[in-house]
């Protein structure tokens, strides 16, 4: 066991059992899965992406490229690619390694490593070109796809829940290391709301590995948590820094009540970035064996978690902090085999301390290579030649079971860069630092270079490694120094090209430990400086963020509001079948026991034709247009004339877009000189009101007119059929039936309720639409049902409504029209107010394209065989064998009333082709012969309306 007897911030009184690849282990509360594995001597945790090389734990934080495991918390709670370094240990945690078969220790795919010479960067672009044109898709791609990918995608639906919170703060501090904590204390003292977040489960950052600093850390955290204006968010990653300080945070909660994560969307007056710095690995042959670890990470395992990752430690050092890590491990009981100092010499003070401790320091040394299969067993050290490469001829073997890499530090400038801040190259610190900011943001601590001492510049550290075999810079994607050299040689000179060709920095750690090395090597190959080559773009998220956090509570029935019309509940009780129309649920038909849709719809249609049908039309959009200039405003918008429409009269209104195409339609009733009740299609309600408001506010501001949505105020009950008046009249009070012709509207009382009664018909039968306040609609509906019982009143749904209106040749915007149909195409030119100087879209109606004789015009279509139904959407062709589409079928229905199928369609020059035969394409069989007829199949003169 490598757990130290004492020390660390773990709770030794709370042992926790967990399993990895089926074997049981124990750790303590406060461990991460990584620290607990190391405490049990487990180093081999994964296999790399391409060569399936054995991989161990490289880091102690989010930059971990290798220790990616599958976490299984039960059905639907299995997640791939979890970083063991960021998974807090909990009782009964089940973790498995990934990307290996048959086992982690023996992975067959590792044989790919043997062919690594062939499998260099971009190899897949240069082969798999045959045999045959579909060789890639049929033969090679399936193989490549199986080899690629890391973990397994989850298979069952995720039962956990995800929350959201919009938050506002005077100061948001990202990162709770010493600099962040200081900034939070200062902000709290200044008053105002402060949010302090950190990706770790504990606050403290680098202090967590400085036992001496723990008392002050505890005191500071106590002060902050006592302050109600301060919000402390552990396990919370600031992953996206948007415009005007809009920062998105992903908080991991994993609460017992299944609330797994919460997305915080924070708007902060000021942001303080205290995101620290990441230690750089060092490129040398075999630097990817399990047991090769970042120096500071090893220090954290010893100091923070009380784990000694190795007994016989070597270190390769390009920065002073390497010594602190080495000495810390020595203090924890490790033997130090040697320190390879890559610089000419280390600072005198450190050399003196090393000597005092009996630690052998080899100046100007590098690693020629390492040994050991599933764990490092030793290395070959050698003095560095003029070109920086260690001289293999003068190598001396050094045994070790842990090799620390201290390549210096890269300040984390991701979020600053996401916020469109400019970066500047600091030659002394050999790092990109935050420069000119574009938002109210300040950077403090290591991310701003504060407290960082200079080390060996990264270009000198990488010098000489470009030709070294199996010197890895992106350990997860298996990108080697040779891959970088090859990319540059093949003409990929922009850093963005190098990244895409080699995939360096494109793994789940997004280059946190590989971008600077890649950049240094490219600079070396091109003979240019690091700032001249430049970095690739930093993009959200800073670390991978779950889809669930983004989706939040918008799932299941809350994915999109379910809007139910006033008579919804009644329809449900009647066993209606519903269909979604936009966000609404509308009753489509009311099947009796055992009825299929067709039978139910036939029954409903016959009821309307022969007696009386009742229909919930409440979802139609309704706009009250009020004001002295109401009529003039409508005249400037709709195609129709309105100024002369009588009070108490209605007209079928048509609205175009400026490009002349039909946008919406609906009956408009005039209630007073200055008040119109405008109806729109269900789908058009919001967008028509928006469009009319646009014209009212910005194009015609001089008009005194106002628009009010009343869509949800009115319940609308349509009563259609020859018996409609017989059912309605007894319930109506205050109406002069003698002055109530077709297309009239009147305010009266129906079943005792104040109502606006329209005499309109979308079925071609005698029809009324009773508008009552929505809360009263169920009561009025019941009253009408009772009054209509003797007349066989029948509720009908949207399907029957579609058939009835199609029998009359009435269009439905969105079905007969698709944004390319003009009034004349739809045979509605008679609606256009001739005397009007202008209306929306009028000018477009005289464009050349609109005047062509072969425009597609609305026609009726009757199947010759009188039996079969053409497909809706079928293309219309002149002959059975033609492949020249001349239009399409927009609607097709069986008609119980007419006894034969009917269809409407748009046909080139259709009105001039009545009586001709055209054909409708079929998906399974010969085209169907159809006779072109006038679109109205029933009661063309409209006698029934005036019954």
């Amino acid at each position: 066991m490598t757990r130290l007897a004492t020390g660390g911030r773990i709770d030794r009184t709370r042992p926790l059992r967990f399993s990895f690849d089926g074997r049981d282990y124990t750790g303590f509360a406060g461990d991460t899965l990584a620290s607990a594995l190391l405490a049990n001597g487990v180093h081999l945790v994964g296999r790399s992406f391409k060569y399936h090389r054995p991989r161990g734990i490289l880091s102690a934080g989010v930059e971990e490229p290798n220790a990616l495991v599958e976490i299984d918390r039960g059905v639907g709670r299995r997640e791939p690619n979890a970083r063991a370094t960021m998974v807090p240990l909990v009782e009964g945690l089940v973790a498995r390694s990934q990307n290996r078969w048959p086992s982690l220790r023996f992975d067959l795919a590792a044989l790919a490593g043997l062919g690594s010479a062939v499998l260099g960067a971009g190899f897949y672009y240069k082969t798999f070109l045959g045999p045959g044109r579909d060789a890639w898709h049929k033969r090679w791609e399936p193989l490549i796809r199986r080899m690629a990918g890391l973990g397994r995608a989850p298979e069952a639906a995720d039962p956990d829940r995800y929350g959201n919170r919009y938050a506002h703060a005077e100061v948001l501090v990202v990162g709770a290391g010493p600099a962040g904590i200081a900034a939070a204390l200062e902000a709290a003292a200044a008053g105002g709301r402060v949010i302090l977040c950190d990706e770790q489960a504990e606050f403290g950052g680098s202090l967590l590995a400085e036992p001496r600093a723990w008392p002050q850390l505890a005191a500071d955290m106590a002060a902050l948590s006592a302050n109600p204006a301060v919000t402390l968010l552990p396990r919370t990653t600031a992953f996206s820094y948007g415009l005007q300080n809009f920062v998105a945070l992903a908080q991991v909660l994993e609460q017992p009540n299944d609330l797994r994560e919460r997305l915080w969307q924070v708007r902060a007056q000021r942001v303080v970035l205290a995101t620290g710095a990441l230690e750089r690995p060092i490129p040398f042959s075999g630097n990817d064996r399990p047991g090769v670890m970042l120096a500071d990470a090893a220090r954290h395992y010893a100091q923070r978690w009380g784990v000694l990752p190795g007994r016989n430690v070597a270190a390769v050092v390009a920065h002073d902090t390497g010594y602190a890590a080495t000495f810390a491990l020595q203090d924890a009981g490790a033997v130090i085999a040697a320190v390879l100092e890559m610089r000419e010499a280390a600072p005198a003070a450190l050399l003196a301390e090393a000597a005092r401790r009996g630690v052998r320091v080899l100046a100007n040394h590098g690693v020629v290579g390492t040994r050991g299969g599933l764990r490092i067993s030793g290395l070959l050290a050698a003095p560095r030649g003029a070109d920086g490469a260690p001289d293999a001829a003068r190598a001396t073997p050094i045994a070790c079971d842990l090799l620390l890499m201290a390549g210096g530090w890269t300040p984390s400038v991701h979020l600053f860069s996401q916020a469109r801040g400019m970066l500047r190259w600091d030659a002394a610190l050999d790092a990109f630092l935050p420069g000119e900011a574009r938002e109210a943001v300040t950077c403090v601590g290591a991310c701003a270079g504060e407290g960082l001492a200079p080390g060996l510049p990264v270009t000198q550290m990488a010098a000489g490694s470009a030709r070294a075999p199996k010197a890895f810079i992106d350990q997860q994607n298996d990108v080697t120094t040779r891959d970088i050299a090859l990319a540059v040689r093949e003409g990929f000179r922009s850093i963005e090209h190098v990244k895409r060709y080699t995939t360096n920095g494109m793994a789940t750690d997004q280059g946190k430990t590989s971008n600077m090395l890649g950049l240094a090597l490219v600079a070396g190959e091109l003979g240019r400086s690091v700032p001249e080559v430049g970095l690739t773009t930093f993009r959200a998220p800073y670390t991978p963020t779950s889809f669930g956090a983004f989706a939040g509570r918008h799932r299941g029935l809350q994915f999109d509001p379910v809007r139910a019309a006033p008579l919804h509940d009644w329809a449900v009780q009647q066993g209606a079948v519903f269909e979604p129309v936009g966000q609404w649920q509308r009753a489509r038909y009311f099947p009796h026991a055992g009825e299929e849709m067709r039978a139910a719809v036939d029954r409903e249609c016959l009821a309307v034709r022969e007696s009386v049908g009742i229909f919930d039309a409440s979802t139609l959009g309704k706009i009250e247009v009020v004001g002295p200039d109401a009529a003039l405003f409508l005249e400037r918008c709709y195609v129709n004339a309105w100024q002369k429409l009588g009070i108490g009269r209605c007209r079928y209104g048509l609205l175009l877009r400026e490009d002349g195409f039909i946008y919406d339609d609906g009956v408009v009733g005039r209630l007073a000189a200055d008040r119109f009740h405008v109806t729109t299609t269900t789908g058009g309600a919001a967008r028509v009101l928006h469009m009319l408001e646009d014209y009212r506010q910005t194009e015609f501001p001089e008009l005194h007119v106002w628009l009010t949505s009343t869509t949800e105020h009115w319940g609308v009950i349509a009563l259609q059929g020859p018996r409609a008046r017989d059912v309605l009249a007894p319930l109506v009070a205050g109406l002069d039936w003698a002055d109530f012709p077709h297309m009239a509207v009147a305010e009266c009382r129906v079943a005792g309720i104040a109502a606006r009664l329209f005499r309109v018909s979308f079925s071609g039968e005698l029809g009324f639409e009773v508008n009552v306040p929505a809360s009263q609609a169920p009561a009025v509906w019941q009253a009408l049902m009772q009054a209509g019982a003797a007349h066989g009143i029948t509720p009908y749904g949207t399907e029957a409504m579609h058939v009835l209106r199609a029998e009359k040749g009435f269009i439905i915007v969105g079905q007969e029209t698709d944004g390319t149909v003009t009034p004349d195409d739809a045979g509605l030119t008679w609606l256009v107010g001739k005397a009007k100087p202008d209306f929306i879209g009028k000018r477009s109606l005289t464009r050349p394209e609109m005047l062509r004789a072969d425009r597609r015009q609305l026609v009726g279509l009757r199947p010759h065989d009188g039996r079969n139904l053409p497909d809706e959407g079928a293309q219309l062709i002149a002959t059975a064998t033609s492949r020249e589409a001349e239009g399409h079928v927009t609607s097709a229905y069986r008609s119980a009333s007419l006894g034969h199928p009917i269809a409407l369609g748009l046909l080139a020059g259709g009105r001039a082709r009545l009586g001709d035969t055209v054909f409708a394409t079929s998906l399974n069989g010969a085209p169907m012969a159809l006779e072109v007829v006038a679109p109205c199949f029933l009661d063309p003169k409209g006698d029934r309306l005036r019954g």
Binding site: P154, R482, S494, P544, R555, D560
Partner: protein, 417 residues
Amino acid sequence: MSGFSAFRLLREALRGQSGWEPQWRAPAQPQAEYDVVIVGGGGHGLATAYYLAKEHRVGRIAVLEKGWIGGGNTGRNTTIIRSNYLFPESAALYDHAVQLWEGLSQELNYNVMFSPRGVLMLAHNVHDEQSFRRHVHANRLAGVDNEWLDAEACRAFCPPLDIHQQRYPVLGGALQRRGGVARHDAVAWGYARAASALGVDIIQNCEVTGITRGVDGGVTGLSTSRGEVRTRKVGVVAAGSTSLVMAMAGVRMPLESFPLQALVSEPVKPVFPCVVMSNTVHAYISQSDKGELVIGAGTDQYPSYSQAGGVQILSHTLEAICELFPMFRRMRMLRSWGGIVDTTTDRSPIIGLTPVPGLYVNCGWGTGGFKATPGSGHVFAATIARGEPHPIAAPFSLDRFVTGRLIDEAAAAAVAH
């Protein structure tokens, strides 16, 4: 150009990879004069240059790219390829591209990883069903494969799909089996390599700053960040920046440039066999060969050249993905980014001549340009070489916005109209 093959890979492996040379020549400065200059080094621009050289024997051709080739929308899209558009003119254009895709790796001797794994467009309501059935009929007539699947068949074709989701159950879908995906970077590099081998100069970090015109108003040359270039034929293939370049010749365009975001998940083993798109639930998804789920969203609502968008757009997209595929809620987003898509009012491209003699434009592809890359380059090359629109390109003229002969794919596709 030295050919690529498995044998060549083996030979180079034994020689320490020393034999590979640059995949395309990268002259630092443009020559003084060219027969044709293509402005824009994305997939469409490089393809145009390739076909000009290969099929029209045009002598001196240059491609001027202000950044690095393939760095614009070519490197930022979700790599979906399909031709099941409604109108015959669109079907002809996009299917011309699919046919070229089918042989492109062999044509370019570069594996662009064209993978015809099927594109399935989901219907969630009666309106969707009517619209997609109309597409299937129109496509069949125009010789483009497309078939209607019921809900169960959709699930069988794409097992992760939840057809019984509560809010918008799947009623069925239109499947184009010949549709699929390809590796976007490889398309730019493949065309660049092949064009370079035919003598085309590809000049990166070379931004066009002015278009010079002669007495007759025709194009005489370009001023660039790397000096003046004389030419009488310029093809502008600059996607989101088209309006800016055309303004240099005093030509106003019917375009607005919007950010279009996309994202990838962390890589996982194969789980998603095809491409799925949904207008109603508003998202589209496939899985890359590396194992990442590649997910596209709609555009942000305001024009921008920032190549970045709002996090709320990503939420809107991932809500939809998690509804269609509930098991993906625990998948993690690895990276998100944005491109600049130039959209026209009828959502169809513009390929052809402009009022300025010698100035040709190929743009307006909006969110759907990648799928057309080979076809767009092919017909645009013919248009430039002959000085008159290629038959397939003819309907997509700039003056259609004046005559009103629009090809409104958005309206027809019932995209929230």
